[in-house]
Symmetry: C2
């Protein structure tokens, strides 16, 4: 397969060009280009420039606003809501997170609900941004009802990612970001595009039978990771990042889509914690225990969750990124002549 | 195996007698008896009267205070800390949760850190108590370093339970409470007592090899559920319910135990969310979407996480509980003559 080497700047510029030439406002395009570039840089291929195909598809279908202004509401001194007004979530996050950070520093714990947003990006760029402010953070979103509950075969849940970051003074943060489905939907789509079969355990077909066919999986139901425990977590994401914030669950987001196959529209919940407030004089001990924990993991040859991604980041910052020529051609073709 | 039928009142009285006759203050004993009775009632056998054996063992080893007064500190308007001063956690929860509930209702989100507590109970009684106040809640604790990280074979994490409750107006809440280890440590101990082997996937032996021997598992390392995702969650629990609140991680709690094999001493983090504040006028929609979600799960023949436990509760409230005669004799023998 032919591969093209691009600088991070070139990826960013490509993303901005693709988005603005398809009608997106420049500040929205910049915010999205930043997370797409970060995804490509960290070799999260399903969240890199591949996502531009999905973005433009959604923009062209017309449900998504390319220019709506995020509207910030202070629901309480601890809870900020940002109504994205049916634009993508990234600009809403960029603007609302300033309030979230202030609230968390003042109160120790604070939350941000992003509502009425189209959502496609990984959550780690957001929890990493909060960790860079010295906060621990959790983020979660529903998506579309693609995933069966444990003990069932019919889709109910979204892929419902949960991300977490812990700030490590002077180091890259401890970060994880995983789908509560056995695998991200984008990975099934990438298998389909590549003509590869998927492992058993990712999905069932429309009849409820285990399948290795990515197309059958897309039309059947994905499975959660970790059996009933992963299924319970997927439900928690629906309840906290859907029902709690008065926004759509994955079932409702799927209905809202009306079969368009656009990027899911729903909400997102972020929770930020300030270790200074919680630690109450024992911050140094807390940090030391955290570092002892990481050393005990790495010291036995196991990986920290973000370790491979950070290694990819270091490579990309030196060498740029490598993208399939076919994918790049598909993405460049999105720019109107 | 001989089985004895006991009323819920009898279980409660037995627990109070066992604890007070071993030197525990009456209010502590009542708070603990309440959760032990709830555990037995819901047929969570590893959290029922079996736990009295562990409690008394810890009391007699002398590290644990049977009478310390919980000390409440307001770290911020959103964060309350209750220092249990090396008593069990239950009385600290009972007293501090009143503040947590008030803070959550005022601010929408609030947290409680219980510190310096010995901890043995399931977390669902606590998140259920918060749901009874109309709040959604998350609870988590470290324990002792018994569990290997994904990719490793040496113990680092505790069994690190995460519990969640969602209030359902007029109904029992949606509740889950699971160890991030593949299984609760109490279940391995119950297998050992019963002379049964354990399934592969629960643990490795001291050499790092998979084992079905519960004794080898207790001396080796337990495994997390769900591979690297469960392992990531276990780390999050260490960081939020340990480092963040300036209390012990499972590694540090194990050191503090000094080989005594007592109940783990560490902290606990609870987060409460008020759907009235977050919903901001859309509470009814949020509740309706939640009920639609539950109906979609139950309607395809899958279970809600707490369904079996609630069925057991209904049985026990009618018929009382059934306890092995041997276990009952072992527990009664804890009362000094």
């Amino acid at each position: 397969m032919d591969v093209v080497n691009l600088s991070l700047e070139a990826v960013h510029e490509l993303a901005v060009s693709v988005l603005t030439s398809n009608g997106m406002a420049h500040d929205h395009a910049e915010a999205i280009a930043t997370v797409i570039t970060a995804g490509q840089r960290d070799e999260c291929h399903s969240h890199g420039i591949y996502r531009l195909l999905v973005c433009v598809n959604s923009l062209r279908k017309g449900k998504l606003s390319g220019g709506a202004r995020p509207e910030i509401s202070h629901l309480s001194p601890a809870v900020v809501r940002v109504n994205a007004h049916f634009a993508y979530s990234q600009l809403a996050f960029a603007q609302g997170s300033k309030v979230l950070v202030e609230n968390a520093r003042r109160l120790g714990i604070a939350a941000m609900a992003i509502t009425n947003c189209f959502h496609f990006s990984a959550l780690w760029p957001e929890v990493e941004a909060l960790a860079a402010e010295g906060l621990a953070a959790i983020a979660m979103t529903p998506s579309h009802s693609w995933v069966a509950p444990a003990g069932g075969t019919k889709p109910v849940f979204g892929t419902n990612p949960i991300a977490f970051a812990w700030p490590r003074p002077g180091k890259l943060p401890f970060v994880f970001d995983f789908a509560t489905s056995a695998i991200a939907r984008g990975d099934i789509e990438l298998h389909r595009r590549a003509g590869k079969s998927i492992p058993l355990g990712w999905a069932v077909d429309e009849a409820g039978a285990p399948t290795t066919d990515p197309s059958a999986a897309m039309h059947g139901a994905m499975l959660t990771f970790g059996g009933h425990k992963g299924s319970a977590l997927a439900a928690m994401v629906e309840l906290l990042a859907g029902s709690l914030i008065g926004d759509l669950t994955s079932i409702e987001s799927q209905k809202f889509d009306e079969g368009a196959g656009a990027t899911p529209c729903h909400g997102e919940l972020l929770i930020a914690f300030d270790p200074e407030v919680f630690g109450a004089g024992r911050r140094a001990e807390g940090d030391a225990y955290a570092e002892e924990l990481f050393a005990a993991i790495v010291g036995q040859g196991a990986r920290l969750p973000s370790q491979r991604r950070f290694e990819a980041r270091a490579r990309s910052e030196t060498n740029g990124v490598f993208v399939s020529a076919q994918l790049l051609a598909d993405v460049e073709a999105l720019i109107p002549a």
